[in-house]
Point group: C2
Chain length 287, copies 2
């Protein structure tokens, strides 16, 4: 890699250094049948999710959006009016977050709708908050409530997610160097916290009783449902983290631990002190 | 648009200004069945085209690549080995042009392979060369030879195109402010020169006898086949443009004209002095 690359693949965003400052870049795809169901979802909510998914990555680095480009593969029968409505909505959502769409590529094909959005951003103050900075003893926090973001028809809170941009920058500013690692929750806390563990070479222990489950959702689903677009971060145990910022709850859900010689892993501690391993689909009994 | 946007949608790349310099961004999709045929094309050539298509846009702005991100939607039966080979090839081609891949998104779905590449770049010396700068009296040039880039099996020169990065920067340097407009040829000279005309509000007259046709290709195909990934540019009539640069022919193919009150258009002048209009599929008799 050329020396201008300051952050290669593997984090929420990659980074290159230009004139002494980092430029952050992320790309995400949104596919009919995978990330939304077109027959059940209004176009403006599809457009919104396409933009917000990327902005959630920007939040995970405590960054500020600069701009975006979008590539769209349209089914041949999509129609010009609906295409225009989709693009208008994407432009409007992007502007809502001060992230202007400055270019794009439109293609027609015989397959389902696919939207690819690339967002570039700048770190806000502190350098980008990475996945690799967690250290043993850190407290682990999540924003908001988890689980149940996707219902059977493809609807639900994932379509209305609010990227935690302002909150992330406030956290980075108030915690300073005590904010060690951060990721956004797209695949579920168990799996995404696993990325922090792998990249930081640490284990993580979650307290079952502390997981902030969305109403009507059990802990298992809160850990594995995915599509939350909340943030998970680790901070020094002695950092002062408020219980909420701008009305969004911040919950301490566990600690970073290190068990020498083991593969990085995420495990659960039950209220009776017993422990369980977690995998991406649920968890298994451990001891 | 926020004031940081210096070039919105509609050119080869969009641009935002950061710390007083422009950051250029472009995105392009490459879809199985549209831009290549997977059963007839080795993976490393698909990977190459995915990167080069974008670098050709960078060349059209006389820019220098900074980095790239790639999003790939894989058919479910694609297989890990072939996925790895595809990504390895994309990384290698990108590095060949000093444009490191710094991130990506991989998704599986029940549809054909789709690759979306976003490249960001910096202007090299001069500000980005835009489509909108052509003025009446300019001479029009193309690089290389045109037409016949795509054969019936989806093979052909389009898979081996060389992005004209170095040539474009040399042109910008040697012509300076005499280089007025530039575009890369992806949809065929007739259509792409039409974009220059529309955005510059001028007409263009092409001399039939001067079009550099690839061996075995007639003028009509040279104007409309597409996928050439050569450059078309306009320069002051008194600019000194060499017949070749670094072994690549530069051919004067016509002039920018302006017919007041008319819609911007591209037309052909035959050797007998008669004129024909061109549309994207060929041309019609005119006078």
């Amino acid at each position: 890699m050329p020396s201008r690359v300051t952050l290669g693949p593997g984090d929420d965003m990659g980074a290159v250094r230009l004139d002494g400052r980092d430029l952050l870049v992320t790309v995400d795809q949104l596919a009919d049948g995978v990330h939304f169901k077109i027959f059940h979802t209004p176009l403006h909510l599809i457009a919104r999710k396409a933009i917000v998914r990327n902005l959630s990555d920007v939040a995970a680095m405590a960054g500020s959006p600069v701009g975006a480009v979008a590539a769209v593969s349209l089914p041949r029968d999509f129609g010009q009016d609906r295409a225009n409505a989709l693009f208008d909505s994407m432009r409007a959502v992007a502007m809502e977050y001060d992230c202007p769409l400055i270019g794009g590529d439109i293609s027609m094909w015989d397959s389902p709708l696919l939207i690819t959005v690339t967002v570039f951003a700048e770190p806000a103050g502190l350098g980008p908050i990475q996945r690799s900075g967690a250290v043993a003893g850190d407290s682990i926090y999540v924003t908001g409530e988890l689980g149940g973001a996707w219902d059977e028809q493809g609807g639900g809170p994932h379509l209305q997610a609010e990227p935690r941009l302002t909150l992330a920058r406030s956290l980075a500013e108030s915690l300073g160097s005590d904010l060690h690692s951060m990721i956004d929750l797209s695949d579920g806390l168990a799996q995404d916290l696993g990325h922090i563990c792998t990249q930081s070479d640490v284990d993580a222990c979650l307290d079952v009783a502390s997981i902030p489950c969305r109403h009507g959702v059990d802990v298992k689903r809160a850990l594995t449902d995915g599509e939350d677009y909340e943030l998970c971060f680790s901070a020094s145990a002695d950092a002062v983290v408020p219980h909420e910022m701008a009305g969004i709850p911040l919950t301490c859900v566990g600690q970073i631990t290190k068990q020498a010689g083991a593969e990085p892993r995420v495990f659960l501690r039950n209220s009776d002190g017993s422990e369980q391993n977690i995998d991406r689909t649920g968890w298994e009994h451990h001891g």
